[in-house]
């Protein structure tokens, strides 16, 4: 718990300008964060511009030119139906990035709320919610997401819902601990005695003081969310087969093993995006948690 409070306290001090300069200093010392930021920004720009910049429609078939190796016309080759892999990879970012972010936002919000309520309410509610959290943590989470997606029926929305539904337990645990810590502070007591309602105190007084570690964890988690979504999609529990989704493209590419461009480029797209977010998350943690910096 001490590490978490040190993260949160360092974030608060971080807001003063001298800390801002320190952040720039760390950014320079941590070139990987910068590289991560550049790659991630590039992908986000690509996601916005794909409709106007992709050379071909991602679903357009060209049976004459099927299974072409990368060449001047098809930068990344073409697939078994003559669709342009390059265009499909560009378009894929429009599925993967929002899906990954949605999982993190829904999942972490759920965890924050559950954890905060458990920590603040205490007693029986706390006990019940924490047992539920432990139960969800007992499953390897992607397996649980697979079962849920299979039950809901495979498509993008259900894959995102299923991943969000299994994503929250770690956030709930951390938030509960933090809320317990903050709850006993004097300013919380002050808010209570000033007549603020329980909900008001929880969401306006306590939560803002424990949200920072959850934000760091969420940043660290974006890469995992993206790779998990790709995995679900790879095994057929994501978007429909024709969709230009990266995991799905790799999965179809297995049947065309010798046509390496069919699986390599979408695979590298996933890897570069995940790596970028991991660089950012790691760097953020190193900067904000001085204990791990290891000077």
């Amino acid at each position: 718990m001490s590490s978490i409070s040190s993260i949160s306290s360092s974030i608060h001090e971080f807001e003063s300008p001298s800390r801002g300069q320190q952040a720039l200093y760390h950014l320079r010392r941590n070139p990987l964060v910068l590289i991560g930021l550049i790659i991630a920004t590039l992908w986000i720009v690509i996601a916005f511009l794909a409709p106007s910049t992709a050379p071909v429609e991602p679903l357009k078939q060209d049976l004459v030119n099927r299974l072409q190796a990368p060449n001047a016309l098809f930068f990344m080759g073409s697939d078994e139906l003559g669709r342009d892999i390059f265009s499909r990879v560009l378009w894929g970012s429009r599925i993967t990035i929002p899906a990954g972010l949605a999982v993190i936002i829904i999942g972490s919000s759920l965890g924050v709320i559950i954890g905060a309520v458990a920590g603040y309410a205490g007693g029986l509610i706390d006990e019940l919610l924490m047992r539920l959290t432990e139960l969800f943590m007992a499953f390897p989470f992607i397996i649980l997401a697979m079962a849920v997606t299979a039950a809901l029926g495979p498509d993008i929305r259900n894959a995102v819902l299923a991943l969000s539904a299994v994503w929250w337990p770690r956030y709930a645990r951390i938030l509960r601990g933090l809320v317990l810590e903050v709850k006993s502070q004097e300013y919380v007591e002050a808010a209570h005695s000033a007549g603020a309602s329980g909900l008001y105190v929880l969401f306006r007084t306590i939560l803002p003081n424990c949200i920072a570690p959850a934000v760091i964890l969420a940043t660290l988690d974006i890469g995992t969310a993206i790779i998990s979504f790709a995995a679900l999609s790879f095994i057929g529990l994501g978007p429909e087969p024709s969709s230009p989704e990266w995991g799905r493209m790799v999965s179809i590419g297995i049947d065309f093993f010798d046509q390496w461009w069919m699986w390599l480029f979408p695979g590298l797209a996933i890897a570069s995006l995940v790596m970028a977010f991991n660089f950012i998350g790691d760097g953020l943690r190193d900067i904000l948690d001085p204990r791990l910096r290891g000077e």
């Binding site: 047992r131 432990e134 139960l135 969800f136 007992a138 499953f139 390897p140 989470f141 992607i142 397996i143 649980l144 697979m146 079962a147 849920v148 299979a150 039950a151 809901l152 495979p154 890469g223 790779i227 790709a230 995995a231 790879f234 095994i235 057929g236 529990l237 995991g247 790799v250 999965s251 590419g253 297995i254 093993f257 010798d258 390496w260 699986w263 390599l264 695979g267 590298l268 996933i270 890897a271 995940v274 790596m275 991991n278 791990l292 290891g294």
Partner: protein, 339 residues
């Protein structure tokens, strides 16, 4: 606390957890699909009143929900996980048949993974900020960031298709016959049979998928090893150990490693979950006929009973492994014995 009491206490803790898992599985299987009959029976059986009636009766679908759960639990305890839609065979039998292959692969994978992960973590903690540290961290980063199916495909292309130094897909050469079944694990069965040629071939088929699994889980293991050892290296007792003239390798080996091992063991237990997920993705690429490949084919054809069966099994294995990890704490962390 003596070992027996610790063991029993952990064991008591695990039973509600296992029951809870069956409740979650039951809810997913019976409450989420709009119609469990649609989800669990093959499409051509949906017009057959008799089949539907038999299915309703077997799983107690006409009874209230809590009785349905008890029926479900009873069927489960008898080893009945329903019938696969795709293969029309009992899911439990399918799983039992394929489990040894996955255990064989996962065991080798976790062995490589722990050696690789702890090794890389040690190197980068001891020689912090050296070029060795950077190389080790890049390898760990690849393990964490690259989708495991991409690593598998690259390995297969490079080491099998291009260099030809590793065996390709499957468990054995096509022309070879499986050794007589004792454990179902080809390497062990071949050894029991004294058949070195089959043993060698089975092992060479395991190496690439096991290495892929290893790279996949070693990323997280090496990160934890590194940060945990770095923290220990700064402790006062490390300085004391050096000050009293111990050689560096004893300082690191006995004082450093032992104290940094606890988080590492925890993360090895937790990464068993990754290992199971990884087995689905890796086995499907290496056409390795284990549980993972079964799960892959079940989910691509939306074979719901098979998917639920494997999910349940994986959850149980995961809980079992983490139970073992809890037991290991007893030996690794003397503080538990005092508490």
């Amino acid at each position: 606390m003596n070992f027996f009491r610790y063991f029993v206490r952990r064991l008591v803790f695990i039973i509600p957890l296992l029951l809870g898992i069956t409740v979650v599985a039951f809810i997913i299987a019976n409450a989420i699909p709009a119609d469990p009959i649609n989800a669990n029976l093959p499409p051509n059986a949906l017009n057959d009143e008799e089949t539907i009636a038999a299915f309703r009766k077997k799983w107690g679908l006409d009874k209230p929900l809590h009785e349905q759960y008890l029926t479900y639990l009873g069927n489960l305890l008898r080893g009945d996980m329903g019938t696969s839609i795709k293969w029309r065979t009992p899911v439990a039998e399918d799983i039992a048949k394929r489990l040894p292959a996955t255990i064989e692969l996962a065991t080798l994978g976790i062995m490589y993974g722990v050696v690789l992960g702890v090794g890389l973590g040690l190197v980068s903690a001891i020689w912090k900020n050296s070029w060795a540290d950077y190389i080790a961290r890049v390898i760990a980063l690849i393990g964490v960031s690259f989708p495991v199916f991409l690593i598998a495909l690259v390995f297969l292309t490079v080491f099998y298709a291009q260099l030809g130094i590793a065996a390709g897909p499957g468990r054995l050469h096509i022309l070879m016959r499986a050794p007589p079944t004792v454990t179902g694990m080809y390497t062990i069965d071949a050894l029991l049979n004294g058949d070195w040629k089959t043993f060698g071939n089975a092992l060479s088929h395991l190496i690439l998928p096991a290495l892929t699994l290893a790279l996949y889980i070693s990323g997280i293991i090496s990160r934890i090893t590194r940060s945990s050892l770095l923290e220990v290296l700064n402790q006062d007792y490390m300085r004391t150990a050096r000050a009293k003239g111990l050689r560096e390798r004893y300082v690191i080996g006995f004082h450093g490693m032992r104290n940094s091992l606890i988080p590492v063991v925890t993360v090895i237990g937790l990464s068993y979950g990754n290992l199971l997920v990884g087995s689905i993705l890796i086995e499907s690429i290496f056409a390795y006929p284990g549980i993972g490949f079964y799960m892959f084919r079940a989910s691509t054809s939306q074979d719901f009973p098979a998917i639920m069966g494997v999910s349940l099994l994986f959850a149980f294995i995961y809980v079992g492994v983490n139970f073992v990890v809890d037991i290991l704490y007893f030996f690794l962390d003397p503080r538990i014995r005092v508490a």
